[in-house]
């Protein structure tokens, strides 16, 4: 059973900031609520007040201006996966959004919620990291623009302060030469959390790989870019041996960050195989 709380629906962003400033730790922001309600039900959170930000206009739009696409924090996964702008210029994100949970969850859950809930398996984080997304954080104190990875502190812990709101996420329109691949592995396609996800962006120049960006989810305590593996591939000719070396780097990074677990002997070969597959798909532009 969900314990009682007050419920506030601010009329505009300013009022939302005021409310959060007043209530601080006693309040919790609610957007789609798909993670929050479960936490309330399980007694993991006991807020006095919920502040609903779903309908605030700044959080609801997808806009394109000067080569930047801005996505409101309360835009749902369904809206992202069906947005023509995102499909054209940030396809890896719509690809990931279309695979989240179930249709019901995608119609309710939001991109901002997926980020600040900071699940190690958050589906939008690896794509947002390779897209080098920025988050706009607003509070009564002002507003700031920060890289998405700096919003993640640890598993289920964001760096957002209790009085701050993630208003929007922006990505640069991807150059058409950049090719992507997103692979998500779960127990089954529908409703299962990701056991592993790989996002790759790169540019192909003849037989060489340029601007290689790789991010993994559900492999390390927080999704992250794999810079060392990226540098092993950067401006190098495409060959399977090189991919194998890079994928081993990622596998050893996983062990380094997550430790050796009972699942490691299963996960390690799969991480390697999926990383190789994702890079190959992006290079051959097969997705």
């Amino acid at each position: 059973m969900i314990p009682p709380f007050q419920y506030k629906i601010p009329k505009n962003l300013q009022e939302a900031c005021e409310l959060l400033w007043d209530y601080r730790e006693k309040a919790k922001v609610i957007a789609g609520g798909t993670d929050l309600i479960i936490a309330l039900r399980n007694g993991l959170l006991r807020p006095e007040v919920l502040i609903d930000i779903t309908h605030l206009s700044e959080l609801r739009k997808i806009e394109e201006r000067d080569g930047i696409i801005s996505i409101g924090g309360a835009v749902t996964h369904s809206e992202i996966s069906s947005s023509p702008i995102i499909r054209t210029y940030g396809r890896i994100l719509s690809e990931a959004a279309s695979q989240i949970g179930s249709p019901q969850i995608r119609n309710t859950g939001t991109i901002g919620g997926n980020i600040v809930n900071a699940s190690p398996a958050a589906d939008t984080l690896p794509p947002l990291m390779v897209l080098e997304a920025m988050g706009k954080v607003v509070s009564k104190e002002g507003e700031k623009e920060v890289p998405i990875d700096s919003l993640i502190q640890g598993p289920y812990r964001s760096t957002l302060l209790p009085h701050e709101i993630l208003v929007s996420i922006s990505i640069k329109k991807l150059h058409p030469h950049m090719k992507e691949s997103f692979i998500r592995l779960a127990r089954r396609d529908g409703m299962a959390i990701a056991r592993m996800s790989i996002a790759v962006l790169l540019q192909r120049e003849g037989n060489r790989m340029k601007e290689v960006r790789i991010s993994v989810g559900a492999v390390t305590p927080t999704p992250q870019r794999m810079k060392e593996a990226e540098s092993l591939l950067e401006d190098q000719p495409f060959d399977l041996e090189r991919l194998r070396v890079a994928s081993e780097k990622i596998s050893s990074e996983m062990v380094l960050r997550s430790g050796v677990r009972p699942s490691t002997s299963y996960k390690s070969p799969v991480v390697k195989a999926l990383v190789m597959r994702a890079i190959q798909q992006a290079f051959e532009n097969r997705q």
Partner: protein, 156 residues
Amino acid sequence: MKRVGEIRVSFELNGKTMEVEVPPHWTLLRLLRERLGLTGTKEGCGIGECGACTVLLDGLPVNSCLILVPKVEGRRVETVEGLGGRESLHPLQRSFIEHGAVQCGFCTPGMLMSAKALLEKNPKPTREEIKEAISGNLCRCTGYQQIIEAIEAIGK
């Protein structure tokens, strides 16, 4: 009379305007079942994984166990009770019966609502599109085959 700690919410339920006073920590599922007596919508897992509580919110399928009542203010809610009754079955309901798509029946209301949302958007879905549309609804009896056939038959 609104009691302390309750909020007033008005919304459209199966085509009729509704106004209720409930505590804001109630879910839409609880409101439907415990206050409005609409027990067609089922509670399975309560955490958005099984789809038994699926209703349509502004035409889109959602898990009513994850929707707090304040969120339905001004919106359109459709439940299985709005589909059809004993005397006036909805074509989907008839098709489910004809195809043996109902066994224990617990998942059926949610399945029907997901199927309705699909057919409204896409009147002739492919098998793959049907599978995708009901991927958020678990059925432990039928093995899904009959459900898929029942939905497919309507699209033809």
